[in-house]
Amino acid sequence: MTRFKDFEHLLRVALVFLVGAVAFVVVRSILVPRSFGEYGHYRGNAIAEIATQPIVFAGHQTCEACHCDVSDLKSKGKHVTVNCEACHGALARHAGDPTTVQPPKLDTAVLCVRCHEINGARPKSFPQIVAKEHSAGVSCETCHQPHSPLIETGAKP
């Protein structure tokens, strides 16, 4: 068998391919993050990064750790399903530093009607009022205690 005439040419081309392949593997291993493909076709570390976002709503469990008197009162009333921050707003900062960060003062004239002003699309069983006719400007908490709003005497104002 005779030796192929331009063997060196082929060798050089093969060498160029080999160097290219090695460079590709090396560059790829540097550029692609190690966690890519850990769970699927995405960067696995992104999951942990998204989980580090700061919390704004403390959660009612956190509130109840200190304000157990309110949660006891609330548990017996109609507002048992209403979590603290539904009315009081996001208070993780207050939970983190209870003395310096004080929750804002609430306005029942705004808060109560948000849920209880009549609206035809609300479920019929949900207690709804026409605020103007219901109280004639008297603020809600004059008669209703927000944490347990049902008036015990049964006499509707």
């Binding site: 540097i30 993050p33 190690r34 966690s35 890519f36 769970y39 699927g40 076709h41 995405y42 960067r43 570390n45 992104a46 999951i47 942990a48 990064e49 998204i50 989980a51 580090t52 976002q53 700061p54 919390i55 704004v56 709503f57 959660g59 009612h60 469990q61 507002h79 399903t81 209403v82 979590n83 921050e85 539904a86 009315c87 707003g89 996001a90 948000r114 849920c115 002003e117 009549i118 609206n119 035809g120 699309a121 609300r122 479920p123 949900f126």
Partner: protein, 242 residues
């Protein structure tokens, strides 16, 4: 310092170790949380929704959602008696500030909307760069550092749950408050919902009340014919809702 051959041989492995740690990136944020032990979804109870907009506001506060965009929103449906197939839907500012009183007959109800965290989500299938994905615990997330802002996923979502954040120029959506649920809290919208119309559900947790609820109620998902494997379950959903 003169780099001798001996010093170089000592320094090289140290450099390799350092580079390895750079490549590995940030460690796990919630060490006690096991990805494989959860499969998240949500229950939305139409019978309980009063359209107060608390969820929309809470979501915007928790996640810094830009004005005019929504990760969750509330729609008001009006279905007249003689035209069941064509409901009139309104959602002023996503229901963020409630709904004005409208006196009209027929059937009226609220439908909260959000990402359905589909098990076979169209949005993750179309992403060309691997920036959006479903986690092993069933939450569809966006990797902001990988997103190139091509908007393909925004078109692909059959529920219209995604938008492009004009500041970061990346796709944004409900994360099911991933930073909260991995720490044992519920989502901001569930926390703020006054009637319990929204309930976070862990489908892999046998003690979760969702299992009993699904067995005993007529529960649906939105657009089941899209075969997206949606995991946001609607109780008593009207046929006119789309």
């Amino acid at each position: 310092m003169k780099i001798t051959r001996r010093r170089l041989l000592i320094l090289l492995p140290a450099a390799v170790v350092a580079w390895e740690s750079v490549l590995a990136g940030t460690p796990e944020a919630a060490p006690n949380y096991k990805l494989t032990e959860h499969w998240w979804g949500m229950l939305l109870d139409i019978d309980k929704c009063i359209g107060c907009g608390n969820c929309v506001r809470a979501c915007a506060t928790e996640n810094d959602v830009p004005d005019g965009y929504f990760r969750t929103w509330v729609e008001r449906y009006h279905v007249s008696d003689d035209d069941l197939a064509d409901p009139v839907v309104d959602s002023p500012d996503g229901g963020k500030h409630g709904f004005p009183l409208l006196e009209r007959g027929g059937k009226n109800f609220f439908v909260p909307k959000m990402c359905n965290h589909c098990a076979d989500s169209p949005c993750t299938q179309v992403c060309p760069v691997g920036a959006t994905f479903i986690t092993p615990d069933g939450v569809v997330l966006v990797d902001k550092t990988y997103c190139v802002g091509c908007r393909y996923c925004i078109q692909a979502c059959p529920y219209g749950c995604r938008f492009l954040n004009s500041k970061t120029q990346t796709a944004e959506k409900c994360t099911l408050c991933y930073h909260r649920i991995t720490k044992g809290l519920t989502t901001a919208c569930c926390e703020a919902c006054p009637t319990g119309a929204r309930q976070l559900a862990d489908l892999k947790n046998p003690k979760d009340p969702i299992h009993a609820f699904l067995r005993t109620h007529s529960v649906q998902v939105l657009k089941p014919y899209m075969a997206t494997g949606a995991k946001v379950f609607y109780n008593d959903l009207d046929g006119s809702v789309r």
